[in-house]
Symmetry: C2
Subunit: 388 residues, 2 copies
Amino acid sequence: MLGNFTYCNPTKLYFGKNAVEGLNEELPKYGKNVLLVYGGGSIKKNGIYDKVSEILKKHGKTVHEDAGVMPNPTTDKLKEGIARARAAKADLILAVGGGSVIDYAKAVSVSVNCKEDPWEKYYLRMEDPDCAVLPVGAVLTMVGTGSEMNGGSVITNRAQKMKIGKVFGPEVFPKFATLDPEYTFTLPRYQMIAGFYDILCHIHEQYFSGTDDNTSDYVMEGLMRSLIHSADIAVKDPLDYEARSNIMWTATWALNTFVAMGKDTDWEVHMIGQAVGAHTDATHGMTLAAVTPAYFKHILPYGKEKFARYAVNVWGVNAGGKTQLQVAEEGIAALEKWMRGIGLVMDLKTLGVTEEMIPSVAYSTLIMTGGYKVLNREDILSILKESL
Amino acid sequence: MLGNFTYCNPTKLYFGKNAVEGLNEELPKYGKNVLLVYGGGSIKKNGIYDKVSEILKKHGKTVHEDAGVMPNPTTDKLKEGIARARAAKADLILAVGGGSVIDYAKAVSVSVNCKEDPWEKYYLRMEDPDCAVLPVGAVLTMVGTGSEMNGGSVITNRAQKMKIGKVFGPEVFPKFATLDPEYTFTLPRYQMIAGFYDILCHIHEQYFSGTDDNTSDYVMEGLMRSLIHSADIAVKDPLDYEARSNIMWTATWALNTFVAMGKDTDWEVHMIGQAVGAHTDATHGMTLAAVTPAYFKHILPYGKEKFARYAVNVWGVNAGGKTQLQVAEEGIAALEKWMRGIGLVMDLKTLGVTEEMIPSVAYSTLIMTGGYKVLNREDILSILKESL
C-alpha cells in the first residue's frame, strides 16, 4: 500500500545540448563569490572548464577554486573545502563534475556554518542541518548518482574505513543543474559502464522491497527497460546522442526521490558496495555490480514474487509452464548475462579485494532493514566470499 | 530524440491519509487573508469544509469565501472571483476541490493584478503574466486533471462557446497541495470513472506523438499499466484505498509535465473534447472518451508503429505472426473494450450533442500540430459524426 509521504523537488534542470547556457539565467540570482568545485582536472582537457569560466566571468563573478575532489570524497578533503568556502565568503558553490563532486559540494554547503564536526553530525548521527546552508548549483558531466536532483551526499572516512551516504532534505538539493548529454561523451568507457550499472542498481534497490503493487513499480519497470535499451546502444556507440540523453534522463529519475515515495526500499547492495569502496577506492558502480548476483541469490527465496515479476516485465522472460522460482531465477540469469555483456566487473578480486580483507569489509557494512531479508554478518560474509 | 528543455516543478505535496494536516505546515508561510475557493458544496456534506475551516481558524486566518465554481469554470465566474480576491486583499487562494476548482484558482491568481482582460491576455493570446501572481494552495478532492502539480488552467467562455486551456509556468503552479485518497471516496461513480479516463487520455496525448523511443515512452507505458490495473479494482470496489491511492499518484504524474519533457505531444482529443464541453457542459472525461476511438482510427495509418508498441506494452497483445497494422488495431480494440467495461460514455449523443451542433463544435475545435496527423475541418467533422 502506498504509505503517507511528503514530496518536494525544487531543483531546476536545464537539459540538452549547450545546457550549460542555463548558467546565464541562474548566476544573476546569487552573490559575487563563487566556489568552483571540480575533480581531477578532466574538465580542463575537454573544454568544460573554459566554457564555465567564460560564463562566470561574463557575470562578473569572483571565482575561488576548490579542485581535486576524488571519486570517493573524504572527510579530509571536506575539511579543506570548508576552509576554502569560508575564506572565499562563498555565495554559491558551483559543482562541475559527476556525483562525487556534487555530493562533496553538498557536504561543504551544510558544513560551512556548522559548529560541530560535520562527519559526526551528518554522517554518523544522521542529523539534519540547523545552520545556514550555502546554495549549490551543478554542471553535470557524468551520470549515475542522481546527485544533481536529490539530497544525497556520500562521504568516506578513510581512517575509520567508512563510506556513508546521508540523504538531506530539499533545502540541500542543488538549486539548479545543467545536464548536457554531450558532456558525458568523453568519459572513459570503464566509468561510463559503471555509471550505467549504478543507475540500474538504484532502481533495483527501490524495486526489490515491499509486497505491494504501486505506481512506482510500474514506473521503475519502464525506467529499467529504457535504461537497458539505451545502454545496449551506448556500449556499441558511446557517441549516440539519443541513447546517452535518455540514459542521463533515466539516471536523474531513478534517484530524485520520485519512485521511492510511499514504499519501502532496500539499499543493501549499496551498503556492501560502499564498504568495498571504503577498503579499495574502487569505482562505485563496479563494486555494486560485483556483489549483486550473490546478493540477489541470497534474498531470492524471500522475494520470489517480485523477482518473477521483474523477470517478465523487465527481461521479457516467458513465464509459461514454469514455477515462480524458475521464472525468478531466469530473470536473475538474464540480468547477469546482460551485465557481463556490457563489460561490468563481476568479481571483487579484480577490484582489489583480498580474502584477508573480507572480515573487515563485512564488519563495516551497514545492515538495512527494507529488503526481502535482513542480512546478518554471516550472510554478508557469504555474499562477499561468493563475489570474490 | 530527446529535445532540449527546462524542467522545474516546485509544488510541495502532502500525500496520504489525513494529508490535509499538511496545511498546518503551509499556512504559517502566508498572510492573514485567505480566499477559500470551492465548488457546488459537496465539501460541506462530506466534512472536508469543516476540517479545512478548523485548520484555517487554528492559524488565525480571515476566511473569505468564493463558492460555486462550476465543473467548466466560466469567464463570468472568473470576473466574480477577481472582485472577491481584490475585496479580500487575499494573501493566499486555497482551492478545495478537483481540477476545475484549482484551474479556476490559478486563473484568479494571475488576474487579480492584471490590468488587461485575462480571457484575452492569457487564454486567447496565450501570454504569460507580467503582474504579481497570488500564491495558490490546493486540497485535492477529485483526481484526473493533474492541476494540483502543474500550471494548467482551463476556462470556458460561454458567449464565445470556447473552452481553452492555458499552461502557465512554475510561478503559477500551486505552492502546495494535499492529496488524501480517501477524499475521493465520496465522488459519484460517474465522475470517478470519467476521471480515470481523463488520466489515461492525458497519457495518450503525450504518448501518441513523435517517432522516437524516449525514457518518457517507457515511463508512460508503466503509468498506463498501473492505471488500468488500479481502475479495474476501483470500479469493483471504490473504497479500495490501495487502488485509489495509486490512481491519485498516477494522475499527478500523468500531467505534472515530467513525461512531456523533450518530446512532442498531441492534445487533439482534448481540443475536440473541450469543444464538446463548451457546447454541452458535459463531464470532461466523458467528452474525451466519446471521441477517442474515432480519433485513433483516423490517425492510426500515420502512427502505426507507436500504436503497435502500445498494443503490446500496455494491453499485452501478442504480436506473433501479425502485421503491424493488425497488432495496432488489436490494441485500439482492447482499449475500447476496457472503456466500455468500466462504464465510460462512448457516444456524443448521450452527452447532449445533436447532429445540428456538429458543425459548430467542429468549428470551435482548435487544431494541434503534434499528433500523427494534423487534422483538417473535414477530419474533425468525420470524427464527430462517427462519435455521435
